[in-house]
């Protein structure tokens, strides 16, 4: 019983196979032994190697060292690998069902608000951060250790196997699964030479011709090599991703058309980074979004769907350097020495001018509104702080409609492109709460200290403005002008360290995987014997050591090849 036979395919020692050398010693078998066992039969009776004799005899108690060895062997066994693979697959599921804070923090916030009790339990099991949870890490680290613990000894075994000579020729070749024989007149020495040449020509590893008139050869070591490369490359990929994550960073910032951004942490709306990232790592560029174009399909069944987003930016690589114009599109980020600048979601920023009763400008400029639907119905607020001695703060709450249409349910936007831009707004006065020290959303009014303006009928004040329109607030409190709009775009700036190594590892893994799946490991023997009539009987036999394909063809081809070489030799002699 040879352990090697069983475990070719998948890079794992099969369960129940105990310490190859020891087992071989006990059963007296070694690779290439004549008693051929089909793959998988070896480990069908795992108990046998342990019970040294009668089944009723209790095995001696294990010492601590033996126990640890036993435990390690179990841990690096195929069965445990199987269990861990399944466990990892199952453990990954909750992360796709429950919102994850590093994927969609808003969804997590909503979920917490809706299910406070459940969220508490989720938090206990890190279910909002499954993929950085300790239990998830425990599973994949266990898998990694099990994998390495299996692969390293196997690499050593494989290394020695590659250096070892092909095994001696079985006595009865005709019992091999693939077998051919033919008779020739050539002496056995010539047959051996021809077989040697033929097998070498087929890139077999061939042992020197033996005394028994046979030639033994082996091929397909690439299978195990590929298998080992595959598993080791996976380790490389995981390490590259894990270590790269420590140095990487990602941030987003909303930039209205015509505005700029310079790359420092304080400028970001959101920023996250690995623990070894340092703020000085940020490349010192700055940029201005000169133009941001949104195009939409305006006919057919997919009307309103985005067709193209394109940002034209003036990019300054470092302070004092000359600006150059760059274009960023979806799928075409701007690459700054490995730091990528992407455009994410876009929107509109209606521009307002707000004046007080004396027509002095209190605030002006575009204010980003957040799109609420596919047609870019956008909501937002304008906060106008006013000095205490000059009057109350003003707050404006509005809806921006790129293509406004007043339907039965009130005004809606019917197309994402601004064809009939309108703003519907209402206004508040009082204290915006900006000085309270509590951070506020820039898209929402804190209405605790605010009163809504009312018109002369006592109804809440409302106004609908087209571009250029001005409305006067009730009681002459001021004027709001809707000047127009610009578009805005969320820029994402990120660096993913280690990605090149991870990619190289992944490609290497695939190459190894292909070799381990498609290369067949096999042994071939050719033997020249003598029959009753004194002629030379050439026997060719093959044995698969890994699953797949039919060895008959190859054995047949080798037999023909040897035959051809022999008859050619004969012809050469005759001429």
């Amino acid at each position: 019983m040879s352990g090697d036979v069983t475990s070719e395919r998948s890079g794992r020692r099969s369960e129940g196979r105990v310490e190859p050398a020891a087992e071989r010693g006990r059963s007296g078998a070694r690779p290439g032994d004549m008693t051929w066992t089909p793959e998988g039969h070896v480990d069908a009776e795992p108990a046998r190697t342990d019970s040294d004799g009668g089944a009723d005899k209790r095995p001696p108690a294990l010492s601590l060292g033996e126990f640890l060895r036993w435990a390690w062997r179990q841990f690096t066994s195929m069965r445990v690998a199987l269990i861990l693979l399944f466990l990892l697959a199952v453990a990954a599921i909750p992360g796709s069902v429950i919102p994850q804070s590093d994927v969609d923090p808003l969804a997590v916030r909503d979920f917490r608000a809706r299910n406070p009790g459940l969220s508490e339990w989720y938090d206990r099991f890190s279910l909002f951060d499954v993929y950085s949870a300790p239990w998830f890490a425990a599973i994949y680290l266990a898998l990694l250790v099990s994998l390495v613990g299996c692969i390293l000894p196997r690499s050593w075994q494989h290394f020695t196997a590659m250096r070892a000579k092909p095994p001696r020729t079985p006595s009865r070749l005709s019992r091999m699964p693939a077998y051919r024989s033919f008779t020739v007149d050539a002496p056995s020495g010539e047959v051996q030479a021809a077989a040697y040449a033929e097998l070498r020509g087929r890139r077999f590893r061939v042992a020197d011709p033996r005394d028994d008139g046979s030639v033994a050869a082996e091929a397909g070591f690439l299978r195990e090599t590929g298998n080992l490369v595959f598993h080791l490359s996976l380790v490389v990929v995981l390490l590259a991703v894990a270590l790269g994550g420590l140095f990487g960073y990602r941030g987003t910032v909303l930039v209205p058309e015509g505005s700029g951004f310079s790359n420092s942490i304080v400028q970001y709306d959101n920023f996250s980074s690995g623990s070894l990232f340092e703020a000085t790592d940020l490349p010192p560029f700055s940029l201005q979004v000169d133009r941001f174009v949104m195009e939409f399909i305006d006919a057919g069944s997919q009307i309103g769907q985005a067709d193209n987003y394109e940002a034209t930016v003036s990019f300054v690589p470092e302070p004092g350097a000359e600006a150059r114009t760059e274009t960023i599109r979806v799928n075409e980020p701007l690459n700054v020495d490995g730091t990528l600048i992407h455009i994410l979601n876009p929107g509109y920023a209606p521009a307002f001018t707000i004046r007080n009763a004396d027509r002095e400008i209190l605030a002006e400029g575009p204010v980003p509104f957040l799109p609420q639907d596919d047609n870019f119905t956008s909501t937002g607020v304008v906060k106008v702080p006013v000095a205490d001695d000059e009057g109350p703060d003003l707050g404006i709450e509005g809806v921006f409609l790129p293509t406004a249409d007043v339907g039965q349910n009130g005004p809606v936007s019917i197309f994402p492109e601004p064809r009939n831009p309108q703003v519907f707004l209402t206004a508040f006065y009082g204290d915006l709460g900006l000085n309270s020290g509590v951070a506020q959303s820039i898209y929402r009014l804190d209405k605790d200290g605010l009163e809504q303006f009312e018109d002369s009928d006592g109804e809440p004040f409302r106004a609908a403005l087209a571009a250029g329109d001005t409305v006067e607030l009730p009681d002459g409190s001021g004027f709001i002008t809707f000047d127009g709009y610009v578009s805005w775009v969320n820029l994402q700036i990120s660096r993913n360290s280690g990605k090149e190594i991870a990619l190289a590892g992944a490609l290497l893994a695939v190459a190894g995987l292909a070799a381990s799946l498609y290369v067949r490991r096999r042994r071939l023997w050719v033997r020249a014997g003598t029959d009753d009539e004194g002629r030379t009987v050439v026997e060719v036999a093959g044995l698969h050591r890994s699953e797949g394909g039919n060895l008959d063809d190859e054995v047949g081809a080798v037999a023909e090849g040897v035959h051809r070489r022999l008859s050619k030799d004969q012809l050469d002699e005759e001429t």
């Binding site: 475990s7 480990d43 795992p46 195929m78 693979l85 990954a92 992360g95 980020p333 991870a502 990619l503």
Partner: protein, 351 residues
């Protein structure tokens, strides 16, 4: 005819293919039924005949045995010789058997021809969709489904050339039928341009690989189901019914393994590695635990478990096949389920 109407007519062509596939399946099933009757007739005729007397079968049955290539059709040959004890009675049933074998053969040839026709029609439909939209025909779930069905169909043609593959193709066609049925109704999306995020050559290879691997996994799943049925029948010693016509479970086991072994590296390259590359280009991170990414990884893990299971004692055969079927279940889920149940970055399905 302008491009859009070519793409719109594609739905009609695919619908035609759908019905031809139904014909294919009916032809194969009726062939199977005939073979079953043939087997029963043979079994009743051979009781009492000594195997030593087995002669070369005559005419139709020899053709049947050859074309069916079924491991068990040797029995049909056995039944063809005249039983020594009752030449006349045997003659009658020999006629019947000859007729059955001939009919089964006709159905088989019919099914096979129809399969080629259906695949050709489907290929035309897929091509029309691609030409009409001026891009690869896998930009949404409708297109993905018809293209994956085409891949599976071509795979069934190849697999069906071997004896073991015949049974596989017969039942697998049903899956193609269901997939196409879903594609032209529930999943149908009128032709149109892609959202900006998909306008990339990465779509061609990333999704292309996914289609290919998915098609292969589909064929493998049919094999796995049949493998489990065949192994159960073998364990019980049952030879009757349609399981009696199946290839041996070990043959199916190997076939299933080969298909999965072909699909697994493609799944590794396309959905996972190239997906990560594209994600970096498109979203600025190569792995972000988007639901689609998670489920593609889960599928990968389960198929990896399958490949390991086949090398583990006590896990061969039907247990390994079960693992592969779970893997296929997760593949289906990463295709349909993720688009239906979860929100994520891969929301291009058109549902």
């Amino acid at each position: 005819m302008d491009l859009i109407s070519i793409a719109e007519w594609s739905r009609f062509v695919v619908g035609c293919a759908l019905f031809i596939y139904l014909g294919v399946w009916l032809a194969f099933i009726s062939e199977m039924g005939l073979r079953l009757r043939l087997k029963r007739a043979t079994a009743s005729a051979t009781t009492g005949a000594t195997p030593d007397l087995v002669a070369v079968g005559t005419g139709a049955s020899a053709v049947a045995a050859e074309s069916s290539g079924d491991a068990r059709s040797g029995a049909a040959e056995g039944g063809e010789q005249d039983a020594p004890d009752g030449p006349e009675a045997a003659g009658d049933s020999a006629d019947l058997r000859g007729y059955l074998a001939e009919q089964a053969d006709v159905r088989y040839r019919m099914g096979r021809t129809l399969l080629l026709v259906a695949t050709a029609v489907l290929a035309v439909g897929v091509a029309m969709r691609g030409i009409g939209t001026e891009r690869v025909p896998w930009g949404n779930m409708h297109e993905f489904s018809i293209t994956a069905a085409l891949v599976a169909s071509v795979a069934f043609i190849f697999v069906g050339r071997t004896a073991a593959g015949r049974a596989v193709a017969s039942w697998g066609i049903l899956l193609v039928f269901v997939t196409l049925g879903l594609a032209v109704t529930y999943l149908y999306v009128p032709p149109g341009p892609l959202p900006p995020a998909l306008e990339s050559y990465w779509l061609v290879i990333h999704v292309g690989c996914a289609v290919l691997a998915f098609g292969l996994f589909t064929v493998a799943a049919v094999v796995n189901i049949l493998q489990i049925l065949a192994e159960r029948a073998e364990r019980r010693g049952a030879t009757g019914g349609f399981v009696g016509l199946l290839p041996t479970s070990s043959v199916l086991d190997r076939l299933g393994y080969r298909l999965a072994a072909a699909g697994f590296p493609i799944w590794t390259i396309g959905p996972l590695i190239l997906g990560a590359v594209w994600a970096e280009v498109s979203w600025g991170r190569f792995w972000g635990w988007d639901p689609k990414e998670v489920w593609a990884l889960i599928t990968w893990l389960v198929y990896a478990a399958y490949l390991h299971a086949r090398a583990t004692a006590g896990w061969k055969g039907s247990k390994a096949s079960t693992v592969a079927l779970i893997g296929y279940g997760t593949a289906i889920f990463s295709y349909f389920g993720v688009n239906i149940f979860f929100e994520g970055l891969h929301a291009y399905g058109g549902l």
